[in-house]
Symmetry: C2
Subunit: 343 residues, 2 copies
């Protein structure tokens, strides 16, 4: 048995069965109908079906030096990295756009401190790369530089770095404007103190939200006091405990949560402290997809175009891979305030 462990059927096998040359089979497989006589094509197609032939992607990639695949690396400390609603929508959008163009998506989650070990980055197997970073700014910057040096076209989501590299593009939503919109909304109430709740782990988007929030408050004449409260993780229990503890000593007029899931835990903490939302305290979320509908009161939050960002990135990459330069190197998607009952 000459055959390797994978009992793959090759073009040669089909050509032998159909009594034609390898090239003819190849032409049939790739739909070059004009190059093959109808009768021959029929015979070849029969053999293909009979032998259950599937083209070998590695061989094709090697020959064409293009893989028709894109890789995405997602830095996160949570093993269940895809459960984040922003990420799952972004990846869905990207994946679907690529599928439509007959491209494949390779996906890998990785702990921030092991970022550069990601298989997708160490081996060259994708025509382009995407990434979502997290961790201290310094580290994210280092990872960004590393990614740039790799070579293939690169799209980084939710970062605000500058890059002059021709093969790099940034796609993010306007988190700063989102934070600002929340601030303006809260300022309609009689507010003197705000707590911004966020996880310990750094995300650029969260920084931007806080920045937008604080900048509007700073410009306001009312001298609103802003504190930042760090939860050890994004887990429901951790957040609830952290907030409940804080509320034990003092109750701010509003709690701005870095994400909707955090806000869910915040609501729970308020409830357990006997605080009525929004009467006693206002609560807001961020990146509203579904959670805001489930909570009582429903959440005031900022809507995110995560799915669209993913598919837009796919579109950008397809252009770039088909010969054109990136049409945009820095794309900012607008967000919109959703007024629920919680603030």
């Amino acid at each position: 048995m000459k055959r390797s462990r994978s009992n793959s059927v090759t073009l040669a096998d089909v050509s032998r069965d159909a009594g034609v040359s390898v090239m003819t089979v190849s032409n049939v497989v790739r739909g070059r109908a004009d190059l093959v006589k109808l009768e021959t094509r029929r015979r070849v197609e029969e053999s293909i079906a009979k032998l259950n032939y599937r083209p070998n992607l590695s061989a094709r990639s090697l020959r064409l030096s293009q893989n028709r695949s894109v890789g995405i690396v997602i830095a996160d400390t949570d093993p269940a990295y895809l459960t984040d609603p922003f990420i799952s929508r972004l990846v869905s959008g990207l994946s679907n756009y690529l599928s439509g163009r007959d491209y494949t998506l390779d996906i890998q989650g990785v702990a921030p401190e092991r970022f550069e070990n990601a298989t997708i980055l160490r081996k060259a197997g994708n025509d382009a790369l995407c990434a979502i970073l997290c961790g201290p700014r310094q580290l994210r910057k280092a990872h960004f530089e590393y990614l740039q040096k790799l070579g293939p076209p690169l799209i980084v989501f939710q970062e605000v770095f500058q890059s002059r590299a021709e093969h790099v593009a940034l796609v993010h939503q306007d988190d700063q404007a989102g934070g600002a919109a929340l601030a303006r909304h809260l300022l309609k109430r009689k507010i003197r103190s705000i707590v911004f709740v966020r996880p310990m782990l750094d995300w650029c988007a969260v920084e931007q939200r806080e920045k937008g929030l604080r900048s509007v408050l700073a410009k306001d004449g009312r001298q609103v006091e802003v504190k930042t409260l760090l939860a050890p993780t994004e887990g429901f229990d951790d957040v609830q405990r952290t907030v409940a503890e804080y509320l034990g000593s003092r109750v701010p007029d509003a709690i701005v949560s870095a994400t909707d899931s955090l806000a869910g835990a915040v609501l729970s903490a308020c409830e357990s402290r006997g605080l009525s939302v929004p009467k006693d305290i206002a609560v807001t979320g961020f990146n509203g997809f579904d959670v805001w509908r489930y909570t009582r009161p429903s959440l005031t939050t900022v809507m995110s175009p995560a799915y669209e960002m993913g598919s837009f990135a796919g579109e950008l990459l397809m252009q770039r891979l088909h010969g054109d330069p990136f049409s945009k190197h820095n794309t900012i998607f607008p967000v919109s305030l959703h007024e629920g009952e919680s603030a």
Copy 2:
């Protein structure tokens, strides 16, 4: 310029730069430290760093006839197919297990009626395949047969088909037992009528939940009436509208929802009808991850080991790809009832 569009650095380039043979470089790259003199290795490593060399995965795959990659195809009508909390956890678990073994995960969502068109299935580029099916039983069965014929090792999640094929394994949770547990829990109350709410789209898991529910109720002496209510989609608004309409004409003693997100919409419908949960009506969910924490009242639901199912599948595949047969062809993960406030 001989070089192809992708300006890739090859082993030959490195070997030229380092003044050694291609094989020596290959040995260095693959960590065969024992085969290379320390000094030579140093020189080669320098060249690798200098030239920014990354091994070409296609070439290696072609030569070795193994790709070190697994593909997963997920049938769903929802474009944002990864947002389903069960799926996102399952895929995270699988992806992480594979990453740890230096395997890559190719992911693709596909509409059920276009299932067989999925790139991942049409081209042979993965060492193994995973799938999650949906749609009418007939169609799922057809897709299952199709997948089996493809050849590579295959794991199908959340299906109850039988297969004698050596290269096929099934992994699912005990949805039937989950449905039964919910039924038994509800029977503790004075219950005469139950409505099972599910989306129009067929999922094997949902069928199993209903089956478990009905079988326990059927065995009970109290002649509980069970109706099935179909929501056009799983979308919050669709479900809420469907349920609210139903409640307009009659109010059952309990509503069993096919998933937690459905249950969220059901709660909302009850609220809008002025019904108090669980006093006036009991409500349950399924596949509890986080949603049950956010709702008020919190949901009574069934906890799912989705993440573990994913990583277990990865483990099974690794064994199979490294020479052993599948150790289990049909694995059923237990689920557990979570008693919240809603029932």
